[in-house]
Assembly symmetry: C2
Homo-oligomer: 335 residues x 2
Amino acid sequence: MKVTIQEIAEKANVSPSTVSRALRGTAGVSAKKYQAVMDAVTDLDYRPNIFAQSLASGQSMTIGVLTQNFGSPFYDGILRGILEGLEESNYWPLFVDGRWQIIIEQRALNMLIDRRVDGIIIVGGQVPEEMLHELAMQKPLIVVARKLKTLPERSVYVDNFEAAYHATRYLLERGHRDIAHVTADMNNTTAIDDILDRYNGYKRALTDAGIEPDPRLVVEGNLQQQSGVLAVEMLLGRGRAFSAIFAANDQMAFGARLALYRHGIRVPDDVSLVGFDDEASAAYMIPPLTTVRQPAVEMGQAAAKAILDLLTGNSPTVELFDAELIIRESVMRFR
Amino acid sequence: MKVTIQEIAEKANVSPSTVSRALRGTAGVSAKKYQAVMDAVTDLDYRPNIFAQSLASGQSMTIGVLTQNFGSPFYDGILRGILEGLEESNYWPLFVDGRWQIIIEQRALNMLIDRRVDGIIIVGGQVPEEMLHELAMQKPLIVVARKLKTLPERSVYVDNFEAAYHATRYLLERGHRDIAHVTADMNNTTAIDDILDRYNGYKRALTDAGIEPDPRLVVEGNLQQQSGVLAVEMLLGRGRAFSAIFAANDQMAFGARLALYRHGIRVPDDVSLVGFDDEASAAYMIPPLTTVRQPAVEMGQAAAKAILDLLTGNSPTVELFDAELIIRESVMRFR
DNA sequence: CTGTTAGCGCATTCAG
DNA sequence: CTGAATGCGCTAACAG
């Protein structure tokens, strides 16, 4: 159960250091001894003690990954990408969940630091940018699915403005003029930059089409499904007619869909609906939801690659990813 | 950045051992020295080196958690429960993702063992029961959301048979006689016990109601959404009439819903639909899906509590959880 | 290429 | 209650 490097050294008739060298290939070892070591290792089922390794080497060979919600399909794609991107390396990801609560996030970050991770990947989240900036001075750090204004070369994300612009324009091209937008409460401090970008993309598309954005067509939710229901209720309450809704995320689009259903408003016959994120169930909404897909897996891979670059001293190569409009049946040409 | 116990010992004018004792409270320390130590700790922002701690103590103070899919709402609930259950303790969870692939699961398990976790919680998965049995001999181990026949006192789960029985009976009570069932391919080896239990619960409910189960009303999917679409296609292709569908999980129910929609079959007017798992989007399906909720968070908490019991030498207290039928608009009384 | 010698930072005996 | 001494298992200089 607890066989040490010492024992396999004895069994292989070499010194402990030679075993260490053979195992991690930090220096040449004669073929004969190498073989002897390997035999002993398999014979005794030797497992190096990670703590001793880390203590002696000063490296933990782990990458801390702070995510916000293990249950989110979008983030899950990113995590999968990170997993894949780290596969070939000798680093292992340490996942912690911030649950979108800034207190928990900070505690989780501290935990990662206490665990001496060699690098940190932050997926979304609300940790203030200054704090991340400071952290980046101490450790290799990459942020995914969130744009850092002061650290652009450390963030992997898509251009949300552009994506929202396209989504809105798609509706415009289909003849819609009165397009409502469900955004999120911007007072929820930071990290809502993405949502703000989407809002701005929406507005710009309108003005570019010669339409004056109407504040009565904009409602705020909190990114949860239930808030999408409320958003539509508010919208209907205002009495301002609209033929389409562009929601800043799919969750709220689902809620909106339900509210419309409850009011007997048909989708897409009466109102067209567009979401954002392409969550798994978007394709199974009735009718299937038109939405914007961010290349989650690819972004995760890019983040892993970037952190590995940082770790090996190379300058990381982060690219701006493009989002893709996924056209489904929830949009109909305005008659 | 790297302040050691030695330095704070000097600053506090005590020996390193006293610092250690003060910090972890393994033995009494005079109030005066205790205070001096604590002051030094905060002054120098001391962070104990976890590797040195673990190396010296032989404990890692971590619990390995093997899950199958970070993106699943149901599993996410369990993870949240585990997180909460471990909160008060000094243990920290180490999450690994098996991705429902037995090879990856085993590698992940090995990784946990290499990392010297003090205990293991397994969430679902397909690792063969014998292997788990063997593992349980070596380390504290708890399995959630999966029934181990040979280790019942180590598994936290709900009675799927019972739950499926109730769900089916609900349909029967609403006047349905021709109830189809979407199950999963049982050849996919292990861990499908739950699905099998659901299938058996369905059959038993029928026979108890004096109805002979009709194989033509049973189709197999693979638990993914897309397979629900195919399942309904097959069902329709068989030409055997039915007025309700009970799917073994929500994912397939979503797919089934979409297939019905494509065929112009209304839910619940023409066909009633029942799922299983109460995934987040079930409440936002059109119409909202009647389904079965397993108390995920509670199960996670119970698992955490049980592993903590195991760790402290107590015999774990695992209970059988009850599932709850969540009644929504997707079921209509058969006319 | 290889064995020997020192620690890595902390917990834990063992003597006081 | 406290300090000194020892070792956890491994890596990394250091000399050959």
